[in-house]
């Protein structure tokens, strides 16, 4: 089996995880910029983080033969401080030409505040000005439904953004339809407690089809499972999905979306 891990926070993981992922058939990993679990005190911290994402982490993954790509932004968890966010957003253009940067992400909302919306609009503007793909984080738990609606409205209001170049991540049963109806791609995150279990993710695929959906582990420093995608692929096979149909969801779909960025290339 082959698969793409389209959302993994590998800076928070050990090299054992890289080994396990490659052994399970991972062909590439993509790492959105994320909250470190604590607030950074200045834009300088983000500069170092962007260097880590674009220089150090690709080298670490390469030791396991795994292509590593990334997305850049200030995560919505740190967007309440608009001045900090503006300073960080101003840093991003100098990194956009780096060979493993796929676009702007994971932007979005966390608690659905006015400042978070303002910073989201600035990120969307940045992506539009630089013709970048967009990866969107939708809020957690009770904030997801409202946040998804607000995010969809922000994106729709910028006419420069083509819906098919935006992936809205962490969808669940109550948000997936609205995302797909707007022409976006949707990501399902496989978490042990919050977000989707493997069984529910496959239910969503059964109901909505697998045309513009992908699955990810979003493994990070919290409760998460780096092998969640291949384990879900195994459950798809148990539920009668053909090997070809599984491959479409876990490999071909991420390749289709990510290949809209010409820098995304898999080794021959």
């Amino acid at each position: 089996m082959r698969y793409i891990e389209p959302h993994g926070h590998m800076v928070s993981r050990t090299t054992d995880d890289y080994l396990d992922m490659v052994t399970a058939g991972c062909a590439a990993v993509c790492e959105p910029a994320f909250w470190a679990g604590f607030d950074r005190s200045s834009a300088d911290g983000f500069h170092d983080y962007f260097c880590q994402l674009t220089e150090h982490e690709p080298r670490r993954a390469a030791r396991y033969g795994l292509p590593h790509y990334c997305w850049l932004c200030i995560n919505p968890k740190e967007s309440e401080d608009v001045k900090l966010a503006e300073d960080v957003i101003a840093l991003i253009p100098q990194f956009l030409d780096r060979p493993t940067v796929l676009g702007i992400g994971e932007i979005g909302l966390n608690k659905n505040s006015r400042n978070e919306v303002k910073v989201l609009e600035q990120h969307v503007d940045l992506a539009a000005r630089h013709d970048q793909l967009i990866l969107v984080h939708t809020p957690h738990l009770e904030d997801k439904l409202k946040g998804t609606r607000l995010i969809l409205d922000v994106i729709k209001s910028d006419s420069r953004i083509r819906p098919g170049r935006v992936l809205i991540d962490h969808v669940e049963e109550h948000t997936v339809k609205s995302v797909l109806d707007r022409g976006h791609w949707a990501g399902m995150t496989l978490y042990p407690i919050s977000k989707c279990t493997p069984a529910r993710a496959i239910d969503i695929l059964d109901v909505y089809g697998g045309e513009r959906l992908w699955m990810n582990s979003a493994c990070d420093w919290g409760e998460s499972v780096p092998l969640a995608v291949p384990r879900t692929a195994f459950e798809m096979r148990r539920r009668g999905w053909s090997a070809e149909a599984v491959d479409r969801v876990v490999f071909q779909n991420p390749v289709r979306f990510l290949s809209q960025c010409p820098k995304f290339k898999l080794p021959e």
Binding site: K111, E116, E142, H174, A199, R200, R239, G240
Partner: protein, 86 residues
């Protein structure tokens, strides 16, 4: 999948989770002190399980969700607790 296949694959898992829910409610009953808004939200969501209509998972998720449509003034915390406090 046939219904028989779904039962073969998921019945024991769903049975386990159902008993966990029942045990959780028993545990809450045995505990002391006042419950907060999450327990009421949980009981309200449980009602959706008895529905004969499909879409129960989405219904449960919606019942825990913030139903408002305007951004809040300021984010004072980062985390979510699983149910809207109102």
């Amino acid at each position: 999948m046939t219904r028989q296949q779904v039962l073969d694959l998921y019945f024991m898992d769903a049975r386990c989770k159902l008993i966990e829910l029942a045990a959780f409610l028993d545990r809450v009953d045995r505990a002391t002190g006042e419950a907060d808004f999450r327990l009421a939200a949980f009981r309200a969501a449980l009602g959706g399980l008895a529905s004969d209509e499909t879409g129960r998972a989405a219904g449960v998720l919606r019942s825990f969700s913030d139903p408002t449509d305007q951004p809040i003034e300021k984010a004072t915390v980062k985390g979510a607790v699983g149910a809207w406090p109102g």
